[in-house]
Chain length 362, copies 2
């Protein structure tokens, strides 16, 4: 009964299908290998996800109000499509998940709350003969970093950014695609639950015990080096994030990338996260922030920011977007583009040239 | 049967009583409130810990070869006195711990491996009616940082450093003592298992899920602010540590200290950790590293390095130590002293003056 290859997914976002909160849903729809047969979200029932997420054909999925309607599309799995702060399950979703289990669907979750450890869900899953997959469950391997060197010929690129949830995963995926299209062996390293759902391996490093974050990242790159030459590691958080910078630095010092790609979203003034009223945490100025990344990376291994991936989603007009990209390029002296919107070919070409100039096998 | 106040401890270090590996044992002997009645370590049986750790009367404990000998001192608890990389229990210690449980001792551990979760230990403890305390067990609270401000009148000082295991905890404890002696209400915030064993509260932040490190540190400072005004947070790792910098940055951005004290051990050329042969990770040059700490801290909240705590243990001659301290002061332009060796009074006076100049309630 379990699908061996492509799954048929219902994605649950109940009441939270927005660009910001549904990044798991959107990522899986856009980049995943599985077929998304329905979106379960009564707040937008009858609407097509394209109305919210944009005209990309991969978002062409209609939302339904109830699990019963979704079941008419013969799904085999229910995927939890949000990534809330703190990673807990909204209480109202419990009956939906339970009903999905009883209807014979596998449950695919990426929350900090492990659904498979919930006694009620676990008992129901045993009875229904379905699996509960918690992508954020950390690996058994608990090892600190040992200062591993990259193998000769390997090129490790980490996406970093000026905020959370602005496209570090998407940029890494677009660059991997461009590398493959250029005839290279490209590897994407998932470091969050959405990337893992898309790619089928990886570790949600924000769930790893902090003592082992760097050792885990080092190990992920080692695994990736066995899969190909051009390795694009999905970054997390930002180095200046009041809540998540620890994860960001663990990735930077654990993966010791040859180069970084800075992801930036012009038009955002402040970090967007659940913080106390009256506080505000501005987005860092780009040139200083780039220099600081190189300094901080260099504490462990030399690395350069070689390109800026510009998230132009706040500039719907294409001419505006092109202008903003040109401004970022001028401001930083680096190749800049929006690979999510305009494809990764041009940006990857710039990155490739810059990385080879860095003499990565030295 | 359980002691309500002061415990009588046997500290187990079996074969690992060195300055580097036994930092838990040494910290508890020097700063703890409990009485250390024996050191269980057959490799140094018959020797006094002072022979290895120095003439401090608090190290005046004789090592014994067997648990039976240790039991003659009527201990009530066995404390695991090492902090190995990766935090796992050496296999040869299992029979000793089991025998201690059966002899009616509580077990106090700070390993990543939770002794209380071990079925054999847990069953034996139930039978013997003793407790197993795993200080590294993370709190149930899983919250991300919310950008809390410090209360007016509070002064938060974080110890940072140029390497692991060079005295960040001891410096914080010495400075707390100096603050109390100056008539202020001083609080020590334990962020590692040894500090927790000494102080009786805190969280081993290196065991916390990385997503919650900053939220946990923020919360620890909030708790500390309820206990007093001058708050000394025990730092962990170093910002340039290939294996542990993630924990260090989580503390820095989670506690948002008004000021930092840089702990430095002259005479060390490289980071001392278990890494692959052929690699070396140099200790950072002090002035640049200080500036970088201020820059990185400032990404979330302004902070200054206001003093250097110099670990002069590689300079046994006191005149040499004084010279090295003077060199550090000249090199950095900051107050410098070895509070572990010479007491914290002078260094705290310099810190206090500098912190007030920073206008911490602004």
């Amino acid at each position: 009964m379990r699908p061996s290859a492509r799954r048929r997914l219902v994605i649950l976002t109940e009441g939270q299908f927005t660009i910001h909160h549904a990044k798991t849903a959107l990522g899986v729809m856009r980049y995943g290998r599985d077929e998304v047969v329905a979106l379960l979200d009564s707040a937008i029932a009858g609407h097509n996800a394209q109305e919210i997420a944009g005209a990309d054909p991969r978002y062409d999925v209609v939302a339904v109000a109830t699990l019963e309607e979704a079941l008419q599309q013969r799904p085999d799995s229910l995927l939890i499509g949000i990534a809330p702060v703190g990673g807990r399950l909204p209480a109202t979703w419990r009956p939906i998940i339970l009903a999905a289990i009883r209807a014979g669907l596998d449950i695919l979750g990426g929350l900090h709350t492990f659904l498979g450890d919930d006694p009620e869900f676990a008992a129901a899953a045993r009875e229904a003969g379905v699996r509960i997959v918690d992508y954020r469950r950390p690996p058994e391997r608990m090892e600190t970093s040992v200062g591993r060197r990259h193998l000769p010929g390997k090129r490790v690129i980490l996406t970093v950014g000026t905020d959370c949830a602005i496209g570090k995963m998407s940029v890494a995926l677009e660059l991997r695609r461009a590398a493959v299209e250029a005839g290279l062996s490209g590897v994407f390293v998932p470091t969050g639950q959405t990337g893992m759902m898309i790619e089928g391996w990886g570790v949600a490093v924000d769930r790893v015990i902090s003592d082992f974050v760097q050792g885990t990242c080092e190990f992920l790159v080692q695994e990736a080096e066995a899969l190909g030459d051009w390795i694009f590691v999905e970054g997390q958080g930002s180095l200046d994030h009041p809540a998540y910078s620890c994860v960001t630095l663990g990735l930077l010092h654990g993966t010791t990338p040859h180069a970084m790609v800075m992801v930036h979203k012009p038009g955002m003034a402040e970090h967007d996260f659940d913080h106390l009223p009256g506080r505000s945490f501005p987005i860092a100025p780009l040139p200083d922030f780039i220099r600081l990344h190189e300094q901080v990376a260099g504490l462990v291994a030399p690395s350069r920011v070689v390109a800026v991936a510009v998230n132009t989603s706040l500039y719907p007009d294409e001419a505006d977007a092109r202008r903003v990209i040109a401004e970022v390029a001028a401001q930083t002296g680096l190749p800049a583009d929006d690979p999510f919107r305009f494809g990764g070919t041009a940006l990857f070409a710039g990155i490739r040239a810059a990385v080879e100039r860095l003499d990565p096998d030295a």
